[in-house]
Symmetry: C2
Subunit: 201 residues, 2 copies
DNA sequence: TAATTGTAAGTAACTTATTACATACAAACG
DNA sequence: CGTTTGTATGTAATAAGTTACTTACAATTA
């Protein structure tokens, strides 16, 4: 759908980010070329460089978009919950839903994760996971403070497993499962995870 | 170290596989070129094609190598354990150790996982995970049969979380943690996982 | 008018794979 | 035993295609 009239750099940047994520849903993000993005947008390849100085800059913008939107979703889910334990559940399910809506997100993150060195993109992905784990750890501590979960719980391990459970679901879904199934599987895994916390529902 | 005397195709194939995995430990496997492999081996780039018909064939050989060696390790760990529950623990720790010894393995798997379509390499990676999950599910059923774990356990979810816990550990370790730390973290996560199973140690 | 957004064409670097040719090696033979 | 001879393994060069990015120029818009 070539929305061909000229557009501002701001709106084109948003369009490039969205197109990158849309393409990443079905293909290896590392193999997405500037030509692919331009073709999907209905412009020529060179046009992209009017709005981003390099492909690296595009990837950084995508990472920052993910950080902002994912953290917002998680924050909303947590704040809407009546207590810390239900906040954890809500964050888990909100994350899964976010990924189901935008399958390109985990694929992009995994692709950047593979990159060596300390590029800004990688640092951004790193920050996303750190903030995420920090938020989970805080919720766990809150739940512990009001005895919703075991008092002898290792919160560091629990936060790691929280993230790991989701990452594992995504990986196993990427490998041939029916994408819609992830929601059902997520509930099963979440229930099991809460048992490990010693949660009293 | 150019081990330059002529070698048989068999030994060169093994060398190519090992070199690929060694390079994948530190770089994005998708970005490893035939020139990189050849340079690391001390031969010219064209020489590789005396032993493999294409780069795809190299990747397939690597995947098959991983399948054989990983499954062997897991099988040994499980059989050496006195009961099904300790078999699960042993498989978990054996997998973590395998990955710590060969960091290129998970990186290679994740890279292939991102590839679309149904290439033989992808099918092989798919088979590895299916077999792995199947083995875990069997061990869980065995443990349930002798009441080492909760009888109302959802074994499908438990097998998924078992794999996910490891995959999560790997991902979080790839993101900047100290590699040696993974063993310690693994034990914490494993203990929490076993609590979720309702295990009685 | 002047800046912005677009196009079309081009470039330099890189990648896989092939080709023509050289050399080591083992078996066969006189 | 020494020579020949066929094959497996290596090299150097290069073909053919792809990629990110640039440049010269045109058109839109403020």
């Amino acid at each position: 759908m070539p929305s061909n009239p000229r557009q501002s750099t701001g709106s084109r940047q948003a369009e490039i980010i969205a197109t990158m994520l849309a393409l990443a849903a079905a293909r290896n993000p590392a193999d997405i070329t500037t030509t692919d993005i331009a073709k999907a947008m209905g412009v020529t390849q060179g046009a992209l460089f009017r709005h981003f100085s390099s492909k690296e800059a595009i990837r950084l913008a995508v990472a920052e978009w993910i950080e902002a939107h994912l953290m917002a979703r998680l924050g909303e889910a947590r704040q809407a919950a009546p207590d810390a334990l239900q906040g954890l559940e809500a964050m888990f399910l909100a994350h899964v839903q976010f990924i189901r809506e935008l399958p390109g997100v985990p694929r992009f993150v995994f692709a950047e994760l593979q990159q060596p060195g300390d590029s800004p993109v990688r640092q951004c992905v790193q920050k996303i996971m750190q903030r995420h784990r920090q938020t989970v750890a805080e919720a766990l501590e809150s739940a512990k403070a009001v005895q919703l979960i075991r008092l002898d719980l290792d919160c560091h391990a629990a936060a790691a497993l929280f993230l790991g459970a989701i990452q594992g679901l995504v990986i196993q879904t990427m490998l041939g499962e029916v994408p819609a199934e992830i929601d059902e599987r997520a509930r099963g895994v979440l229930r099991l995870y809460l048992c490990g916390l010693g949660a009293r529902p």
